[in-house]
């Protein structure tokens, strides 16, 4: 055990006496006049319900959170009275501009409102009734094997950081929890999709996993977020959108539409976080550029892996006949170009000015003939 309570309460005479007193009706009521702000919030719009935005009031608000949290390392809720010997729970992310995004409370509300369940919201029976041709189904099984690897990491990034982030950033932590659930849902949905088609899972990818491990291993929250939410998220969003456009079955169309809306939230948070981070720590522009100079090769490891690209070409072209493969290659090239452009535009809009010129990705696409 790393930690033991300071007291053995079973031997604590003071506690026994206090309990005896209270249970005989002599209450201390030391909490009765807590030095906290009295508020009565209500939903501004009853149709939308009581949102976190409605609770963004006075000392309870997230707008008034200081940049540095110095006085609360416990789980005491923001705005409550801190007294006595509250423990230090070991939070290591205590700076608002590391984690915050102006859209985080809204994204959390959206994540809850748009929840779905793969078991029942994807029309699995339709797939069984009208199976895909074997070649397409095998490609889909491979793509879904790859997407499970990606979703596992997208889930892992949020899960890795939640534990370390100060509890004062409640709305942000709540959003990350929603994102963890979103990605768990994607792991589930892609696993089910691969197995439902009869082909089972296919091959894990070395280049993909090497890239994913590097992304997951980012040492700071801000680099982890830009690599995970913005770079990986942009790629996944683009891929889901592409797959929805070329979906070989109504089941797949539904599936990719559903995962797309979750991925869009991930990217929105990633962009919002980078924007907030750089607006409050402009000296980090150089640091993030430097990090991405090194990390953007991971995007190539994902997008250019055989286990992603080849099934993508087959699914985009509709099969493995020569004309289908050629059509698929054209689709895939457009998808690659679009993915890189959108990712770089998001970086620029978030305040990472000059990323397009600095990044090696456009040059690499030229070498590919795109």
């Amino acid at each position: 055990m790393a930690f033991y309570l300071e007291k053995d309460f079973f031997e604590d005479v003071e506690l026994f006496n206090l309990v005896g007193k209270v249970m005989s009706g002599d209450l201390t009521l030391h909490w009765y006049d807590a030095k906290t702000e009295h508020v009565r919030v209500a939903p501004k719009d009853p149709v939308r319900g009581l949102t976190y935005e409605d609770c963004n009031i006075g000392s309870y608000s997230y707008d008034r959170l200081p940049e540095l949290i110095r006085n609360n390392y416990s789980m005491a809720p923001r705005g409550s009275e801190l007294w006595g010997k509250l423990p230090d729970l070991g939070y290591t992310v205590n700076r608002k501009s590391e984690v915050w995004a102006d859209n985080v409370a809204a994204l959390y509300e959206e994540a809850k409102a748009r929840r779905w369940a793969p078991a029942v919201d994807v029309p699995w029976a339709d797939l069984a009734a009208a199976p895909l041709p074997a070649m397409l189904e095998t490609a889909m099984a491979q793509l879904c094997t790859f997407l499970q690897e990606c979703a596992t990491v997208a889930m892992g990034i949020s899960a890795h950081w939640v534990y370390s982030i100060n509890q004062e950033f409640l709305e942000l932590k709540s959003y990350l929890c929603a994102q963890i659930l979103d990605q768990a849902r994607h792991v589930e949905a892609f696993r089910k999709r691969a197995l439902a088609g009869g082909q089972g899972l296919k091959r894990a990818s070395v280049s993909v996993e090497q890239a994913l491990k590097e992304i997951l291993s980012a040492e700071t929250y801000s680099t982890g977020s830009v690599a995970g939410n913005l770079m990986l998220g942009s790629f996944l969003l683009s891929l889901y959108r592409h797959m929805a456009a070329v979906a070989p079955s109504p089941t797949d169309l539904t599936l990719f539409r559903l995962v797309m809306q979750d991925a869009a939230r991930m990217v929105a948070y990633g962009s919002g976080n980078l924007h907030y981070h750089l607006a409050h720590q402009p000296h980090h522009v150089a640091f993030i550029h430097d990090y991405l100079d090194a990390a953007e090769h991971c995007l190539l490891g994902l997008i250019g892996s055989q286990e992603c690209l080849e099934p993508l070409i087959i699914l985009s072209g509709g099969g493995t006949a020569a004309n289908q493969v050629q059509a698929g290659c054209q689709h895939a090239a457009r998808f690659l170009a679009q993915t890189v452009v959108e990712y770089l535009q998001r970086c620029e809009r978030a305040g990472l000015t000059g990323r397009t010129e600095r990044s090696r990705l456009p040059q690499y696409l030229k070498r590919l003939g795109i």
């Binding site: 055990m1 930690f3 309570l5 309460f9 309990v19 209270v22 009706g25 209450l27 201390t28 909490w31 807590a34 906290t36 939903p43 009581l50 000392s59 416990s74 789980m75 005491a76 809720p77 409550s80 007294w83 006595g84 509250l86 729970l89 409102a113 029976a125 491979q142 690897e149 990491v153 899960a159 890795h160 709540s174 929890c177 659930l181 768990a184 792991v187 089910k192 197995l195 089972g200 296919k202 091959r203 894990a204 070395v206 996993e209 890239a211 491990k213 590097e214 980012a218 991971c298 190539l300 490891g301 250019g304 055989q306 286990e307 070409i313 895939a332 090239a333 090696r360 590919l368 003939g369």
Partner: protein, 379 residues
């Protein structure tokens, strides 16, 4: 950088060449020959949809998963072909009985279909109909402060452990993900309710917070689950049930019913996990007892923190007058007794019947029962 890919893809000429060939239509397609099992899965019950249980087949299934995961330490999904060169993620837990529970997949599916929304599913606008007495509002705000305070530990801790588990335990990791979200929703709903009382949040509870630290700092998954799912959430589940009973409004009853169904799932997982450990990992028994000694210290100290008991007494007795307090202390004593009784009943079900004889908490339970009988509260 904590980890760098073994390949810099910008600089890898083979990678570029292969990619160029792919884009010219030269496909390798070796992945089509992956040596994996081809199976057909369908939803056994179309109304329930396609569940993880429907996928429990062959090498993809959890039933045939070996006790020790020796082959896969990467992101590769269970059942996929594992080529040479996959990274080692250094999972801390690769033994099934460290994490598994009977019905894990069932708890996960239930959680996914019973997600609810604290913003919309609690009829907040109806609170305007109620005008509660001052002492009830204050007491309720204090109880809600405590609940807000303790719920988020159950997001932090499972999230932390998710990253330490071998990816072969996909159903467990996914269940943990649902718990993370459930608890964020609980912290949200209690915070929102506190801010609608007219008082806002009240005082933190240091005596309970040290218990949270104990849970956060658990050394193993089994210890964490014991402290969090079985003990901590077990106590909170009883608290929710009594809180529904003493709730000042119908809105609150609805709220407690919603949180209760989530909490029951988490406790269910904890019980079924401990049962699994006892059956498949019996050598853990002594370690578990040792850990329970400290967990029970947490339960005892936290359970008697005045920031919880006093507002509970006022709410149960419906006021601050002498007769209210007298009634409130009776109900509170019964509630506390029930909390501890249910805790031991859960341990019994897991095969730890001997715990009662070794436990200081059980001793305290017996003393409380005797004093309540003497006072005529219990017959």
């Amino acid at each position: 950088m904590a980890y760098l890919s073994t390949v810099d893809f910008f600089e890898d000429k083979n990678f570029l060449d292969r990619w160029q060939r792919n884009l010219k239509g030269e496909l390798d397609l070796s992945w089509m020959q992956a040596k994996t099992e081809k199976i057909a899965v369908t939803a056994e019950n179309p109304r329930r949809g396609l569940t993880f249980r429907d996928l429990d087949k062959g090498e993809y299934g959890f039933t045939e998963m070996p006790e020790l995961i020796r082959q896969n330490r990467s992101f590769a999904p269970r059942g996929a072909e594992l080529p040479y060169g996959l990274p080692d993620l250094q999972p801390e837990v690769s033994q099934k009985s460290e994490v598994w529970a009977y019905n894990t997949e069932g708890y996960y599916e239930e959680a996914m279909t019973r997600q609810w929304n604290a913003t919309l599913d609690v009829p907040w606008h109806e609170l305007a109909k109620y005008e509660l007495p001052d002492e009830i509002s204050r007491a309720y705000a204090q109880l809600l402060t405590f609940l807000t305070e303790v719920e988020m530990v159950a997001t932090d801790v499972p999230a932390e452990w998710m990253g330490k588990l071998n990816n072969s335990f996909v159903e467990v990791k996914n269940f943990m993900a649902t718990q993370v979200m459930d608890e964020a929703r609980h912290a949200e709903v209690f915070r929102k309710r506190a801010l609608t009382t007219g008082y806002g949040l009240m005082k933190a509870s240091p005596q309970n917070e040290v218990g949270l630290k104990l849970i956060r700092d658990s050394d193993s998954f089994a210890e964490m689950s014991l402290a969090l799912h079985l003990a901590g959430e077990g106590f909170v589940l009883t608290l929710f049930r009594f809180s529904e009973y003493i709730s000042p409004t119908e809105v609150d009853k609805k709220m407690f019913r919603l949180v209760m169904q989530d909490e029951a799932r988490h406790v269910g997982y904890g019980v079924q996990h401990l049962k699994w450990v006892m059956r498949h990992f019996p050598e853990k028994r002594e370690v578990i007892h040792k850990h329970l000694d400290e967990v029970e210290n947490l339960l005892f100290g936290g359970g008697y923190a005045v920031e919880v008991t006093e507002p509970f007494i006022i709410l149960a007795g419906k006021g601050l007058k002498k007769e209210n307090i007298a009634q409130g202390t009776k109900i509170t004593a019964l509630f506390q007794l029930k909390q501890v009784e249910e805790y031991f009943e859960r341990l019994d079900k897991c095969g730890l019947q001997e715990r009662r004889k070794m436990s200081k908490l059980h001793n305290a339970l017996e003393l409380t029962r005797a004093s309540l009988q003497e006072a005529g509260v219990l017959v």
